[in-house]
Symmetry: D4
């Protein structure tokens, strides 16, 4: 039942051609799924001011370009994650205002400035330098979602002083994203130092029994520190998104 | 170097017995870890108003009673998790003001009323009725940490109408905890319906390839919905704690 | 918006107090989830003639009795799975018409005879005698769902003649459920002998590297025979249900 | 014992050279495996009208061409799965009537039109767009096996409205194939909405803890919805085949 | 087609009521599986002189007694594996000639002396003393299958001299069974010392990362020594059986 | 203590310079490992007539050539396993008598004819055609170790007649090697049909949950047929070697 | 060849009945393993002053008593690990000088005072209080092996100040044993603070995805700190033994 | 609070401008992390004489060159691990004194001779020749850390004489590193032969169920020999580092 048919029904009620009871019966079985407009309600991106996100992996350059074009026409800011440099360059040639973030393999295309909606600072921390690409994905995501983001890189637990000497920055952040591979211990230490939500991101950095990030993931899920939530391995985007949702509260 | 020695050093500086340079050398190598008072700084429980938490599993009744006694003297509210009913009853006989929550196997002992510090409602959702014990652990934790908590139980995805008919409650919560075993799909659906942080708790409910909650955990980590953070299997406490930290923001 | 409010709205439209356009706006945002009656639509059990199913594990005897009572009042046939004998006996004392199937740990409570809705025979096959409890769960489920069910037990692949000598029975079944533990090879052989759908049920029978049924499950998922669908380990109920759904077609 | 020897034996019985008892003894030990003709009975493809299937992976182009040639001479329709584009092009040059389906990497070679043998519609549903190649393998398979097939793509559970708005199509299908990667939740939701058999196909879409489809597979095996059978990861062919076998009933 | 019908057919051929061609057609499609007697051929136990084996686990005492009685009437020697002492005692009271082997939880019931059919000595070697129960299952099995069996216990690789000082016994065995838990290294060392087949049996002895025998199993499958075949964890019976089959050659 | 020193000691005993007791003391502590000649005893290849085996993977062409040259000078037959075609061609150019087996990636270099030492036929059976490369590795190994080898390919369990029609060949083999990927069911069926040792070889053939051969391996370890020993995934060489050791008995 | 035969041979050499060359030939093939006395050499316990160790798990009280008796007669100190309290009490009644360590389930029986052989202090550190039983097993082992042992318990990484305030003790230890369950992060932090060998012991403390210690084990194997060696889960004994071997250097 | 501010405070104390109590309050809350000099204390490399280590994997050539340049200016010896040959060559062109170790993919750059700090010999043992690259990483590391290192390659347990004939070398080493892939049994045998610490290094050598080194790792963790510590798969560097730390004691 599309909106036109609904209008017809109401007109018949008004004109008395359909009784209230008859209309009730029809509306009771009204399959909401036939309301084409209900989909529009789903475009929470537009409503919330968040950008539209495209998962770049497994899509052709042509497919991505088509989606970007449609979204730009509707005035969306756009975030394409996991996009190879080669594809990004082709897209940039067609849509020159898009910006490619090489380290995090993320493409951003702005149609309007990002309004600041986050209430505090999101601090993104990494254990090592090889965790930075995942961290940068979180940074770009959170910035595009309207947050002030700071970073604190290479403060792994084997040199605990490096971390402790930055304690003030840890304590002034409103939400923390902690990115670590190998033994994934950093979120436990950070979680013990702050009273704010910590989003832990395991990375696939390591070899042998790091099992592509599983060890770090398991360590984070078993953190002896409270206040830690975990996302998928290498999921910088997910961490940036969750942090943004929290930082709006 | 304890505080007494530090006082002595400063007195010697004042009296001129120790030069500033000599004192500097001593203080430069000052091992902060010898400052006994630094530990006091760590008692974030007292400072933040959060209760002190005791992990009951693997501790004897006697050990738990000793800790409870010490904490009560300092005026703490106390939360004992994963405590068998048998031990709880012994403790309650000795500390009658303690209250045991049978379903969630949690003991709470209040020395003062819990001040409301959470800014909105935390909604705890479960997929099935057998997930309720884990959910209740989250509920008790969050309430003891000063939150208004509501529950929405048995709204699993196989009967999607049950969930959708409660959509308003989902949308008015400030933080959501979603508890599910088996295929762990509920956080994805809930995450797609709200714009607030979702904390997903996998439970060990199921059999065969549910692998004691691993399947639900993996599903939650791979959620196609954004804004979802995951905690350990059956970790209702952790979810309640994280939700409370977020709800204070 | 409950049905009463909907009625009010329509009356206002009829009386002209509300314009069609205004009503349209209200109905467009009509949250279907507020329609209490939509839940009724979900009671597919009653509509399809299938019994209502209660997962007995993790529920107290009292809880199960309450649910049975409510469902009986509505005229449902009831199937309680994974119910310990001890609980079953208590229930039977209160509801003497219930019947307990010891091998499969299933309780059935009929309020009316089961109408035959399955169009052909469902044949339940096991590799060994220790697989029979799982098979019986499938048998009871399928019978309660209106099917003619036959069984063929202990025809594992190590003695292939036992199976082949029953080939005629295999070929005359409309749907086959094949239950096997250990190496789980039976569905592949059966699947190669018939042109009908085969539902494979791995069981936890075995030791060591049978890993509680994982080996059988994996073997079934990798079957070189086509036309095989797999359910969870020891999930006789699920197989019986799926076979019933197919046998109605 | 070939057919010639069997004929000799019967002639001897007729002529009285061999007594009935002697013949019985010989026939009792008749090794069925020596009956060359028993193999013919196995060619169920020809008998059932189903196409012959060749697993392309791990076979050389030459091998595949040889098999295609032999099968074409016998009048079979042919389905080659998991065939790289490069090999397909060579084959097409030699057998121009073959058609290559790039997305699903399937080659079909018809010698006669496919008769419609399926009684209803098979609906193939995917959670995301990256699941489509696997879905297409199911589509091509089911069509070649004589079914009317429809598709419903990109209706994952994070945007539940997309799925619900197509509920009518879900309900009118006779058999459903649901294809999903990541958390694999879609079959549970679909299974709760329909009363027809649902074949769940996990895909290797995802990263990190999606473990190449294991997470989706486990979720599907643990579906809280009844009436769901599961096939191997990325096994679109198997799902299409099973759906076809069911749709013939 | 049972033997009676076959006899009728042959009589008709003899009497001319059925032509040879007609009989041929009937016999060509003769489903061997209808020959009830074909099962007899499968009783390889009786034919080969091997005992009949009953897997005791998961069977009731009553079931086992019934099977024992039937087999004894046919003159079989019987081996019941994985039988709890409690059940064994009940059986022994009813069948006093049965002998229970406590360490290996095996029951043997002889109706006739075991003829020696093995051509050489089977040597059963263990790494530790806790591996002995599994080893004894192999010993009892191999003896009941007509072999001369010797044992060499507690010669693990951490004290390599213990093993090397028994090298002569290793070299004179015709078949070796090597039983080890923990790191499962013994078969590699033994395999390097002899030119005879080595059957490796992993045991569940160990803790932590021994994973109930998986570590030992994996080590044995990866043995750098050639001539090693592996059986399931704790499968002393299987090793004894395989060794017996080899020792008959 | 080298042989020269030993000679000196004995001479001193003979001449009376060292008493028997003194010599005893020295010999008691005789570290066998100092006997350089003990290594010679280890060259079981030369003694048994078995070829020398070189694991080609991970060795450079130069390294392999050096080893081949040394072994040829000592008159050994040589087997190089897992050797890439590219390396093989270079080696063949330098040692033209070497023969490369492309399918099994094995190189054989004979210095003398292989004497027939196996007492019966080794039959190598595969489930599918893609298992043949692994089977061929077994064939070449067993032939080079002096056995008559026959093959029976593509007789997987989904078409059980293919296997049963070759039952005579199965029964006349003295040792059987059964090679299968996917669900790995073939050894169970073959093991139920013969009274001879069956060596099961899982292959990495399959996709998804075949897990590179783990599923087939697990199925074989859990075979319900007795008399089955298992080797590592894709370990055709190991199977051929073990079969040869058995066939010499 | 036993010592008697060796004596005979030497006598024949001396008397000239056997030539030096003949004796050489006999001695060259001298199988060292026939030298019964070589075993004595293996009793490194007595030689090194280390106690003899008995693994209590899986041994009967009678077996353990027999071994203790034999070892005591030879003057050994004895360590029995993984011994249940019940068994220990029976043994203590028979051998009253034995001492049972309840927390670590270890029994020690001294026949002579333990000489101090370790050169420095072994410091045993735990993350939590529930890790203490494993730690105590290490303590008892190391003390019985002649070391000065100190402990530092409950200094997990979530409260990093607790650890840092004890830094001096960490730095003055010669060998460190670090015991942790859950996320197993403590060895990484400790390893970054000291320049001495760190032995990491994962414990089975935790729930859900701690997987009985696997998570802690993996984290320790992936430690970003250098100088860390890992032992099996809950293997306090192994850690104490390795630390003792190192501390003697 | 930097050192300058600290000086000011002390001067104020001396001059009486700040009272001792006031100074105490300020110093009590002294955030150690603000002491810039605390980082210097962390440069244990310079202090201990150990080289600085750079993990080459995942770093660009430019990044590595920058770090090398900085460290060289400070006079450090440098070790770059897991560096591809291609990158190494570019670096060598810029810093010609660097030396690349092709087999172990390690680059070493010396600014000063390595002082001998290890007290005894470190012996590096491998099971096979393909384990040598990992072994060499340990060798280079230990040498650069000031140790005398010897090697003993290709002495795997399948030819136990090869190992035993080198027993003297095993016994004279002060620390042993044992490197093995496949079944990983060598550390158990070596550990039983010596009284010195054994560092076990699993390698990814093998195929099928070697699982890239997991099997070897598990075997080593379950070693029945005492005195064995384990490092990550292929972690030659870690083993060399740990051995060096031990050898300094």
């Amino acid at each position: 039942m599309d909106i036109h048919k609904l209008e017809q029904l109401l007109k018949k009620v008004r004109s008395g051609k359909t009784s209230v009871d008859q209309a009730l019966v029809q509306l009771k079985s009204l399959p909401f799924e036939d309301l084409g407009f209900s989909r529009i309600d789903h475009h929470r991106g537009l409503r919330t001011g968040f950008p539209e996100v495209i998962w770049g992996k497994g899509k052709t350059t042509r497919q991505i370009l088509t989606i970007i074009k449609q979204l730009r026409e509707k005035g969306h800011n756009i975030l394409v994650t996991r996009l190879e440099e080669k594809k990004a360059k082709i897209i940039q040639r067609r849509v020159p205002t898009c910006q490619y973030h090489l380290r995090s393999q993320v493409l951003t295309c702005l149609t309007h400035p990002v309004p600041l909606s986050g209430k505090g600072t999101i601090l993104v921390v990494t254990a090592g330098t090889t965790d930075i690409p995942v961290a940068e994905e979180a940074v770009v995501t959170a910035e595009l979602m309207g947050n002030h983001v700071e970073t604190l890189y290479d403060v792994g637990v084997a040199g605990i002083h490096r971390l402790l000497s930055e304690r003030k920055r840890l304590e002034t952040a409103r939400v923390l994203i902690v990115v670590a591979g190998m033994e994934g211990a950093l979120p436990s230490v950070v979680g013990g130092l702050v009273d704010r939500p910590v989003i832990a991101v395991p990375t696939s950095v390591g070899y042998g029994t790091s099992f592509g990030g599983i060890t770090a993931l398991l360590a984070m899920l078993n953190s002896c520190a409270s206040g830690v939530g975990v996302v998928n391995i290498d999921n910088g985007f997910g961490a940036g998104y969750l942090a943004s949702v929290i930082n709006r509260l």
